[in-house]
Symmetry: C2
Subunit: 771 residues, 2 copies
């Protein structure tokens, strides 16, 4: 755990520069607008440790798999988000000497992410080796109003000298991915154009030919006023710059406004990209920095109005939750169903920017509850469109008859991952994809989606489960052998309780909707059955048999659901008994030692209980929580949130609060010593869930929305918004009362502490808090 950032309700502030934290700060202070994103790299040259990162949504590279020992079925490529053209670059020379903070004495430094308004701000005063002191101030943002545009205001002021300042804005496509499997570069230049005050590079990715035009346009002011200056143009392959030298007196200020554009062949014909980029950039340039920023800020304030969570009396918690919400909103906007949410979003290379089960299991609820229903639907359609590939994927593994296994990691629907215990065995991901359909329908009431798309996915997944089980003679039950559950610290186990639970549920849920559709819309059912070659009698009777006779490991003595067969054969000990120097164990122990230990990486049985909480009484939940929580090391970012929610459910508010802090400030306080690699974007959805579903006790059941709020002692109040069937509710909780405000026009039935209320549009409900 490392805490060097200041606590503030709306800002993330790095005060003073420590080079060893630079990669971490670059991650934490990242910018994004759904279409592109970037790490908080410096504009000017920096020879110290840095991970340069500019990413463009949907533009990826299928890097040749690197594997020690090949196994049949491994994918040949790992799709990874590419480091794209660096467009923020502004080199600065002071009397012909490069300004490089790694080589200066830094007199002051402050880098701030303004989450309320969505921009990155930086200021510093540095002394060059020759004694010249300069002050630099910059503001940078990626517009959420014009999401192809980014803009920078960057000013330099000589503090103790008169001299020549050379400003060199550039675009550099000569970039690399640190994680390239074979050290290759992924971009080729197609075209390059430089003018005075502007420049464009048209680049194409190898193999898949994604084409991207990155352009820049800039102007300079001295002391806030236009000036005349000469420009020297330099270029080489994949690089272009404009260089301008200006003489300044002490305390004079030179300011550059640099505007950049990124257009891609996802949205334009490649041949038109260069021209279109010029047009879009011209518009932005005409609007100007101040107006662009004002529009951008206004849009952010509207986003906050929908999705903010307020926490009173606990600045660290307030900052933490806003940090999570801010990055979720920076990463995905739901405007393009070809996109999804990588575990690190636009903040680093790790996990390749690809889609994991994280989307459905951890971030889907956030978008479902804070944006219009169309966004959730787009996330579902993403998987619907990959159904064909999921069926192919299952075929490769020997499954038949339209069974689908969605990939563990994907960009275009094909599997990318190559560890057999994950790629082939972590099949529970199929369940989360089914569960997201259920959540969406439950939340929006959009049953039409099931008819049109959802049921087809559910049936293909059900077919997979029905082939993946086998009948055990000794147990006289169906079993699911050889899986890896959500707890990846167990591999190739039999009867993972979570996996069996989600499999049986999928079969049952799918059958329910097949029956419904058969009754309500027999025509559509016949169409679907014909399309899928679905044998209703035969398939559903097998499915029913599996649901009725699936084996679930259980410990009679402790009355707990067992994570898998044989879990209790392990030497039982608790996470608190691990030598702190050996934590996290995944950085200290060999894999076999981890596998043999009883320690759990992330919620597994408890995740199953979380998904289907309504099935279990509080005592059952408590018994399982009390057994599993002390054995869980939470070395996945996706763990603490689920435990926090269940702790709240059983009324253990202190544990819920501690676990919440761990998830909310995971990156800000760098619990797992890895934030330098990028942020845990998908776990941020879990943090939101921990407030709304944990403390707020929000559940959707029987068509109504329910709340059972708790509040930690450390907080004065908290409030959140939630959309339900298209309507918006605001919930505010303090130690005395719960206030629920219907922010829509419709009348909404609300259940608070098991009491039903009908809330008319605009009305407030105020109820004393139950203690």
């Amino acid at each position: 755990m490392t805490s060097y950032l200041k606590h503030d309700e709306w800002l993330i502030i790095e005060e003073g520069f420590n080079p060893e934290n630079n990669r971490a700060s670059e991650s934490i202070l990242s910018l994004g607008n759904g279409k592109m994103g970037q790490r908080a790299n410096f504009e000017e040259a920096y020879s110290g440790d840095t991970l340069q990162g500019n990413y463009i949504a949907g533009v990826y590279y299928p890097d040749k798999t690197r594997v020690g020992w090949w196994k049949v079925g491994y994918p040949e490529y790992f799709a990874k988000v590419l480091n794209a053209a660096n467009w923020i670059g502004i080199d600065v020379k002071i009397n012909d000497k490069t300004l490089d903070l790694a080589k200066c004495r830094i007199l002051s430094f402050r880098r701030t992410l303004n989450m309320k308004k969505g921009y990155l701000e930086r200021s510093f005063t540095a002394e060059l080796p020759g004694g010249e002191k300069v002050t630099v101030e910059s503001i940078r943002f990626l517009s959420i109003v014009m999401p192809e545009i980014g803009a920078i205001q960057y000013s330099v002021k000589p503090v103790n000298f008169n001299g020549k300042i050379t400003i060199t804005p550039y675009i550099d496509l000569d970039v690399r991915n640190e994680d390239a499997n074979y050290g290759e570069q992924f971009w080729e230049e197609v075209n390059r154009e430089t003018g005075n005050g502007e420049g464009y590079i048209l680049g194409k990715t190898k193999k898949l030919d994604f084409t991207v035009c990155t352009g820049m346009k800039f102007n300079l002011l001295k002391n806030g006023k236009p000036i005349r200056y000469d420009i020297t143009r330099n270029e080489r392959e994949k690089y272009l710059e404009n260089s301008c030298s200006i003489h300044l007196q002490q305390e004079e200020i030179l300011t550059i406004f640099k505007y950049a554009v990124n257009l891609t062949s996802l949205d334009y014909r490649p041949g038109e990209l260069m021209h279109e980029a010029e047009q879009v950039l011209k518009i932005a340039f005409t609007i100007g920095f101040e107006n662009l920023l004002a529009e951008h800020t206004k849009a952010w304030i509207m986003k906050w109005d929908d999705s903010d969570i307020r926490i009173g009396g606990d600045v660290a918690a307030q900052q933490g939750i806003r940090f999570n919400i801010f990055h979720l909103n920076q990463t995905y906007t739901g405007e393009d169903e070809r996109l999804n949410i990588g575990p690190k979003g636009f903040t680093g290379e790790k996990y390749g920017g690809s889609t994991y089960w994280d989307t459905e299991a951890f971030v889907f609820p956030f978008y479902l509850c804070t944006t219009n229903p169309d966004v959730g639907k787009k996330l579902l359609l993403y998987r619907y469109k990959h159904l064909g590939k999921a069926i192919e994927n299952a075929q490769k593994l020997g499954f038949k008859n339209g069974a689908a296994l969605y990939p563990m990691v994907t960009m275009n629907g094909e599997e990318c991952h190559n560890e057999w215990e994950i790629t082939f065995e972590e099949i529970h991901r199929n369940g989360a994809i089914a569960y997201a359909i259920y959540s969406y329908v439950r939340h929006t009431g959009d049953y039409k989606y099931l008819e049109d798309y959802g049921l087809e996915v559910l049936m293909a997944i059900s077919r997979f489960w029905s082939q993946r089980v086998n009948f055990s003679e000794p147990k006289q039950k169906y079993v699911i052998l050889g899986v890896t559950g959500p707890n990846e610290y167990e591999n190739n186990v039999n009867n993972n309780w979570y996996t069996n639970t989600i499999a049986a549920w999928t079969l049952d849920y799918t059958m329910g909707h097949i029956h419904s559709l058969r009754n309500s819309n027999p025509q559509r059912f016949r169409e679907l059955a014909a399309k899928l070659n679905f044998d209703f009698e035969e398939e559903t009777s097998l499915w029913r048999d599996i649901v009725d006779n699936l084996y679930f490991p259980y410990d009679e003595e402790g009355q707990i659901f067992l994570q898998q067969d044989g879990y209790l054969d392990k030497e039982q000990s608790l996470a608190e008994e691990i030598d702190p120097n050996q934590r996290p164990i995944n950085q200290h122990w060999s894999w076999d030692r981890i596998l043999r230990s009883p320690f759990i990486k992330q919620a597994d049985v408890l995740h199953g209980i979380y998904f289907f909480e309504e099935r279990y009484d509080k005592e059952t939940i408590r018994r399982n929580f009390n057994f599993y929580e002390p054995r869980t090391v939470h070395e996945s970012s996706l763990s603490a949130c689920i435990h926090s929610i269940l702790a709240a459910r059983i009324g253990d508010i202190d544990t819920a609060y501690n676990l919440y802090l761990r998830t909310a400030r995971l990156d800000l306080d760098d619990y797992n010593q890895e934030v330098a690699e990028g942020l845990h974007i998908t776990s941020m959805g879990g943090t939101w869930m921990a407030v709304v579903e944990g403390f707020g006790g929000m559940r959707i059941a029987d068509g109504t929305i329910r709340f059972n709020p708790l509040i930690p002692d450390q907080w004065e109040f908290y409030s959140f918004n939630v959309r339900f069937k298209g309507n918006l509710l605001n919930v505010k909780v303090n130690h005395e009362v719960i206030e629920i405000r219907n922010r829509s026009n419709a009348t909404i039935p609300v259940n608070l502490y098991d009491q039903e209320y009908l809330l008319e549009g605009g009305d407030d409900l105020v109820v004393h808090r139950k203690k």
Copy 2:
């Protein structure tokens, strides 16, 4: 299965050239002499498909590990045998056109491995694109009398023309490994010297600085007589040649004798290598090809006298067993305890030439029974010398107090392999290393070895087992969780019966010898205990408790030992039910599918029964054999031999014979479609065992040697030699009688069909065969 080679008792004959079999033939016809080895590549240029391979024992390269997803504890390097200098090369030009069989019409072609005399012979007549027909004849061998020397006789005869023949012998160190992880070359040139008729390249391997001098010296004859010729010398880095052009009339014969030497820094000071190479080569040159070959042949005939197995009436079987014995004797001679036996010997790159448990489990008995006891001892000392590294290896995985885990794959004692399920979990290898000590002592009576070296290894391994078990509360037994047994088609299983069996045996055997030593030589015991910091009371009482309370999975209903916990939960089916198009399954099925299937790669429970056969009555062996054999796909070369031995044990001679054929002609008939990669050298020891222990029923028990011979109907007779306590017995079996001849001077107690006989030196015992 591919059978294109002719059956012959002493020769392996490839008649007619099929380029698609070339890599396979190159493997099968490989030469070796313990110090070096090479594939049966052509001397002249060949632009078709070929795997060039020259290997030098003990000279390896630690290639940087290639891995998809790193895990703590993985080794950073994979040590692999290097492709060394090509010294066989003799380019031939006919009227300035290169002779290249890939570009000629081949009128006849024959490549023969003479196993009796240990050389490779080749003859062909080819027509060049210009119409010139030439006949080439060559003989090549690696001397087992002067093991640093190789020699070639190579002659060219114009069949239908008069013209210029250019002969260019060369040395080429500009070679690569096909399996290089990052495409790197492993050799650097240190020095190079060329003279007329000779040349030397001194090369050094990267990283480890193994230095090798490869030299050549040659002379030419025309029609068997010396001639004068000019030499043109050419060289570049890592390459040198001498080129000689001679005019020949039709039917005249030009012959080159090329002698080569390889000396290494393992045996000489690097600075002296070049000079020493010249000296050694000069001696060989002076002795001359014919004399060198005569000495070599004589030595081979003596080797055969010790180790031959004769089979009457079945040429395929006779050829098969000799092929196995021949390659074993080519690969390892027991002269250097720094060397060991790679799974592919000197016949290919696969498995990197490193040492596996194969050595102890499969080839150790062959050397023990057919060579002097010193050879077996050298193989044990190899592991003894690696004990320190094995202790370090165990420490890396969290074990303490001098526990040793020998590496799965190694060259210098360090682990090379990087699949967690093998590297960390295939711990049964430790057991085979302990078992080899037991075999050696049982076979030689050399208890002194235990005192001096063996016990130290056994104690370190026992310490490992005692820490690797844990106590299961539900079972109230010790268990061994998270292992991979010999059957690698199961990973991360609990209580693999074989592993548990060998673990308990090791503990028990070690304790037995600790007690003996404590009584017989208390002084040595105290020394050892002090050296190892061994707490006799505490450690042995824990070991005893483990031996007495270790869990063994068992199926009460079928009364069979269960391969591991939960094996019967699998959908049971038999190997014969697999679609033949899907065989071998490891080339057709994804890994999870293999893991979930009941199919067994290689003997696992049955290997345990084989090791400790005396514990089980025939009915128990039969039940287990009848259960496991039909589920075993034998996709390891190490499987069929063990099954064959057990089939013989239970009197199922037909099954024993079929399984024997599979192992004996595995490479000759290319059962697993992979002989192109190299031969299965270590499984060849298993073939030898299948004859001697299977059909011959040889066992060592209670200090005597026992035989229970069977004979397949297909054979008229078979005979083999076996050394026991330094004495040599010859056993001959036909359908009527068993004849055992004591080839030594001492009196030997022999047990035949459970009857004891005392055989005096030189005596024959003739007994009617039991049917």
